[in-house]
Structures are given as C-alpha cells and as structure tokens.
C-alpha cells in the first residue's frame, strides 16, 4: 500500500518507494507484472487492446454475414450458423467491444488524469473489472466450441425463444454466464468512475471545470449503476427459467414473456447511451483541440448530457412498440424529446468549429466523420420514435441501417480517440498518412454499407434472415452493402498495419496537439501516479491556460481577437514529425 502524499506546491512526490526517478513497482516483471498491476493506465490499456480484438472478431462475423447475404440463396453458412453469427456479432460488438472500449479502456486511462487524480479510486476493484471482462468475453465466445454452437437467439434473447425448450444447449448458458461476468465488470467500473470523479479531483477542479469527456463518463457511470443491475437480475431470472423450472417468462406457467422485454430494454436503452456518451465526449475533446477553441457552450453541453441521461431511463419501450402492449404516447414523447439535447450537442460541436483554426489530423477527421454519420443515425432515429413509423420499419433493415449509422459513428469517434490519446498512453504517435487512408476507407465504407440498408428496409427486407429467395431484386443493394462492409474491413487492416508500422517510431512529447485539458500537462506516458506537478486549475482547460495565458476563454460579448503566436515546442516537434512522415511513408 502506498499513501500518496500530495506535494508542497507544484511538485507531487509520486515515488512511494523512496528511490528517486523510479516509477515502476519493484518485483514482478513481464506477464506477472501485467497480471498484478493495479495501475489504471495498465488496466486501461489491457481493456483497450482486448476490446479492439473484440471489434476485430465481431467484424469478422459481420463480414461472414455480409458474404452470406451477397446472394438471395446464400449457402456460405447454414441457417443455424447464420443465427449464431448475427447473435454473436451483435453481442460481441455491444457487450464486449463498444462499452468496454469506452468506459474500461479510454475512460479508465484518461478520466483520472483529466481531473488530476493519481489513480482510480479503487485500483484493485478496477483490476477485478478487467479480469471479469476478459473471462466474460472468453466465456461468451466459448459457445462456438460447444456441440450445440453459440447462442442463437439474437443479442436481445427474447423470451420464450431463449428458454430451454427452444434454445437448449450450453451456448446459450455460456452467453448468459459471459454476460453476468461482463455485467459485474461494468458495474464495478461504474462505481469506480463515480467515486474517482466525486472524490479524487485535484484542488480547483470543480465539477464545472471537468472536461466534457469526464462529464460524459460521469453520466455514463451513473447510467451503468442504474441499468446494469436490472440486466443482471433479468439474466438470473432467465437462467432460473431455463434450469430451475421457474416460469417467469413462460406463458404455460403463468409467466409473462413481455416482461423480459421490459427488463431487457430498461437496461438496453440506457445502454445505448452508455455506449454513445463516452464517444460523444471523445469527439467533443477532439473537435475542441483541433479547432484551437474551447468547447462551445460548455455548460449547455453538460446539461444536454445530463438530460440525455435522465430521459434515457424513460424510453425503453420504444423498442417494444410493435408488441401492442405498451403505452405508446408516453414512450413516443420521451423518445422524441431526447432529440433535443442531442441536437444541442450537434450544434455545440459545430459552434466549436465555428471561426476556429481547423487542423485536419486523423483524429479530427475521425471526429468529423463521427459527426456526420451520427447526424444521419440521429435523424433516422427520430422516425423510429414515432409508433406508426416504427410499426412500418420495425425489424427491417431500416432499423439495422439506423443503428449501424450510430454505432459506426461511435467506431469513428473511438478511432479518433485512439489517434488522439494513443500518444499520451504510449508516448508515440501513429502515422498520419496511414491514418488518413484508414479514415477514408472507414468513412466511405460506413456510408456505402448503411445507405443501401435503409432502402432495403423500406423495401421490406426483414433483419436476421439468412436468405431472401422470394426477393432476388434485393441482391444489388445487398451487394453494395457488402462492398461497403469490405471497405470497413480494409480500414481495420490499415489500422493494424499502422500500429505495426508506427511502433515506437514517432515519440510525441507531452503535448503534441497543443491540447487543453490536464492529461496533456503530464508526460507521455504519464508516470506511475500520473503527475510530477500540477498547474493551477482555473478553468476546464488548465493546460491551455498554462501554455497560453493570454488566450483564456471568453464569455460572450467580451473583447479579444485572434493574434499571432509562436507554436509551442511540442507543436513544432509534431510539425517536424509530419514532415518526416511524408518522407518515409
């Protein structure tokens, strides 16, 4: 145990062992060090790597799905395998990639540094979160190696399809078990983030000086705590129905199948925002830094996030409009209302860019790609909040297209996050040229892959079908969609190549982007307890204030003009670096 002492002004002594200049803990090395580490940066990095692997696995499933749909009577996989594939695609992407990538990976690393904390509040709990997540992922994927195959009831596991009569076999139980583990991992991370943000902020870092990313993570963490216990309870009920003869979700025993949907979506819709808010935060930070401006409408951004969080608990049944047993107007109204704070965010992002000096680095391109793709997904989401229009499009490819516009926007923002914060974590930049290539493949691929699906959905193509023998005319559009999916796949390959190519090539210095928030004040990578010294915190951009004391944020109406200024040293390094890359790439 280490009692961390904060410093006499300006210098933090983080070296708990007493031997100067030595940040690592003594003893364990190699794999044992990794297994025993409780440092939020190590854990966060493990999370990030694991979740990107999950993205690749889920992406492979998606490519198989798309290949199967390239012909009306696809024979690449059997009907049974197809059901397993989309179930595991959805499950891997939602449960094992998007959430853990955001709140286990980047947030874990960045949030403590952004608020000037030495670590997460409960480091060992944090490590436990990771192990539960890793073992949960393995558990869920183990289904493929059982006799009956993996789970095949869709990622939503609707009762009674998910009971032991319709889905016997270990694959389904492994799915439940894997989710129990990752569910607890999420809850622990939620506890940890909330406690860290409430209790470990640096002096002067008031709540309304926290960077937007941290704010979004706080709301995400609260939503995790509200939503995940419900899912866990539901999974236990489902397990009891399957094995202990209860009849919670089966009509025959007096149960109510729709209850599962209520429980699932009471978790599931907040989950949508648990996935999305962190990525909104990433995009916000990136857009501000690469526009060289403060986040426009910081306060309305915070309140938009809070109201999205609040409203998201009251909209779950918009996924159940077609059951015919839910209160249509209530859920319709609440769901439409969410468009308002979401719109505020979009306008704030544009406001941040407005009159800025936009630097189109890869991270910025990814964030802008996110903005556009998310706009499309958001607009089509408004249709689905209207019950009559949902009756019309529910369970068709229109919905698949809608949520892929959203989730692919999140992938774009997440990639932006990696290009943006990766250097802070590793100390090395990624190659910008490869980055740009990756961006264009990912961005164009996303549009080519989702757009035909909108049309297919309106044309009546249901989701989760392995073949469409009666409608061969859908082939052309499906081929386009498959082509888009291939472009997205190529972008992932480019990313992996880029990581290999740039490995330890371009050291980045403390603040390569002339960024604004506290994490850019410390070294890259940060020392064991994150800071040797802290600047005075007087706004949500302490690093910027420190580097550009003459350019603090302005309230509306006050003066101040853009002036010329010398690039900080780090900026010059990056400039030279970019130059260098042009030669060897």
């Amino acid at each position: 145990m280490v009692d961390l002492i904060t410093p006499p002004p300006a210098i933090i002594d983080v070296d708990h062992d007493g031997d100067e200049g030595h940040d690592e803990h003594h003893g364990a090395t190699g794999i044992l060090k990794w297994m025993t580490s409780t440092d939020h940066k190590v854990i966060g990095l493990s999370y990030t790597v694991t979740s990107v692997v999950m993205l690749i696995i889920g992406g492979l499933f998606a490519e198989i799905i798309r290949a199967q749909l390239a012909s009306p009577n696809g024979t690449l996989v059997s009907l049974a395998q197809y059901n397993e594939l989309f179930t595991m695609h959805g499950s891997v992407m939602i449960y094992l990639f998007a959430g853990p990538f955001a709140f286990g990976g980047l947030a874990n690393i960045i949030v403590p540094i952004q608020i000037g904390a030495p670590d997460m509040a409960f480091p060992r709990l944090n490590a436990l979160s990771y192990w539960l997540y890793l073992m949960g992922s393995i558990t869920m994927l183990m289904g493929f190696f059982t006799a009956g195959g993996a789970a095949n009831f869709g990622w939503v596991a609707y009762a009674p399809l998910s009971n032991s009569i319709n889905t016997p076999g270990a694959g389904a139980d492994l799915w439940i078990g894997g989710l129990l583990l990752t569910g607890f991992s999420a809850i622990f991370t939620g506890v940890n983030l909330t406690a860290t943000i409430f209790y470990l902020r640096a002096p002067g870092m008031t709540m309304f000086r926290m960077p937007i990313f941290t704010w979004n993570m706080l709301v995400t963490a609260i939503l995790i705590l509200l939503a995940f216990p419900v899912l866990t309870a539901g999974l236990i009920m489902l397990y009891c129905d399957r094995h202990f003869g209860t009849h919670i979700f089966s009509v025959a025993g007096g149960g109510v199948p729709v209850l599962w949907q209520h429980i699932f979506w009471f978790w599931g819709h907040p989950e949508v925002y648990i996935l999305a808010l962190p990525f909104f935060g990433m995009a916000t930070e990136i857009i501000a830094v690469f526009s060289k401006k403060p986040v426009f409408g910081y306060k309305s951004m915070v309140f938009a996030t809070l109201s999205i969080g609040a409203l998201s608990l009251g909209v779950w049944a918009h996924h159940m409009f077609t059951t015919g047993v839910v209160l249509l107007p209530f859920f319709s109204f609440m769901s439409l209302m969410i468009a308002v704070p979401t719109g505020i965010k979009i306008f704030n992002w544009i406001g941040t860019m407005w009159r800025g000096e936009l630097w189109f680095s890869t991270a910025m391109l990814m964030a802008l790609g996110f903005l556009f793709t998310f706009l499309i997904g958001g607009l089509t989401g408004i249709y689905l909040a209207s019950p009559p229009l949902d009756f019309f499009t529910h369970d068709t490819y229109f919905v698949v297209a809608h949520f892929h516009s959203i989730v692919m926007a999140l992938v774009l923002a997440g990639m932006g996050g990696l290009y943006f914060w990766g250097p802070k974590i590793t100390g090395y930049l990624l190659n910008e040229k490869f980055g740009r290539i990756q961006f264009w493949f990912l961005f164009i691929g996303t549009q080519v892959f989702t757009f035909p699906q909108y049309i297919l959905g309106l044309d009546g193509m249901p989701r989760r079908i392995a073949m469409y023998p009666h409608s061969p005319q859908w082939k052309t559009l499906n081929d386009w969609s498959t082509f888009g999916a291939i472009l997205v796949g190529i972008s992932m390959i480019v990313f992996v190549v880029n990581v290999g190519y740039s490995w330890k090539k371009y050291p980045c210095g403390d603040n390569p982007w002339d960024a604004q928030t506290l994490e850019w004040f410390t070294t890259s990578p940060p020392p064991h307890h994150n800071f040797y010294r802290l600047p005075q915190i007087r706004s949500e951009r302490p690093t910027w204030d420190y580097n550009h004391p003459e350019h603090r944020s302005l309230a509306h109406g006050t003066g101040g003009t853009g002036t010329h200024h010398e690039p900080p040293l780090a900026n010059a390094i990056v400039g030279a670096l970019e130059h260098d890359q042009d030669h060897d790439a």
Binding site: M1, R124, L128, W131, M135, F198, L534
Partner: protein, 130 residues
C-alpha cells in the same frame, strides 16, 4: 460536494416524477418498479452527500480558487500491485462455468474466490505489495 449532491438529487427527482406519471398512466408494474428503484438509487446517495455537504468545509476540489498546495497531504491509499483481483476474477469465471457445465466447477471457483478474499484482506493489513 454540493454539486454532486444536487446532481443526484435532481436525477432522482426526475425519475420520481417519471415513475409517478408512468404508473398512473399505464398501470404497468415492471417499468414503474424499475423507475422507482432508479429514483431511490439516486436519492439515497444524493441525500447522503447533501447531508455531508451542509456539515463539512468545502474541499479544495470544490473551491474555484484553490491552489495546488491546498491539496497537500494524504490523498488516499493506493495499492501498488496485487494478484488477488486476478485470482478473484478466475474464481468468478469458474463459478460461472459451474452454471453451465456442472456443479463441480464450484470447487475451484469458490476456492479461488475464498483465497482471493482472504489474501486481499491480509494484504491490506500488511500494507505492502505482493
């Protein structure tokens, strides 16, 4: 502390209003109960924070004019490294496998978990690294 408290109280109040509106309109129990529970989950810690916020001095992190020096002192206890999260994670893994493949997986599962709990407690007492 005050902002944190108000945040949770505000969310709780909103969920409370929603729960009332929803239940009175739809008479649907599941959602009503879940929203009510959501309200409690915000109100309980929220009122605790509020209670404290009225009784304690503003912390340096709540003071807009705080200097870094004010934060000096012990921030908290941060374990350097520990094997027990891993052990407990593996224990939980085996417990879950017991749900799927058979009860005997509980033996390694609960064994590892017990070892982890005892070990972590002892580690905390010792106050050192593994």
């Amino acid at each position: 502390m005050r902002v944190e408290a108000k945040l949770l109280l505000g969310l709780g109040a909103f969920f409370g209003v929603m729960a009332v509106v929803y239940w009175n309109w739809g008479h649907e129990n599941a959602g009503g109960v879940m929203m009510f529970a959501g309200m409690l989950l915000c109100l309980v810690p929220g009122s605790y924070y509020y209670w404290w916020s009225r009784r304690m001095k503003a912390r340096p992190e709540d003071d807009p004019n705080a200097t870094q020096g004010e934060g000096a002192g012990v921030v908290g206890s941060f374990p350097g490294s520990s094997i027990f999260p891993f052990t407990l994670g593996m224990g939980a893994f085996f417990v879950v496998l017991a749900l799927v493949f058979g009860i005997w997986f509980l033996v390694p599962g609960l064994g590892l978990a017990a070892w982890a709990l005892l070990g972590a407690t002892a580690e905390g007492r010792r106050g050192g690294h593994v």
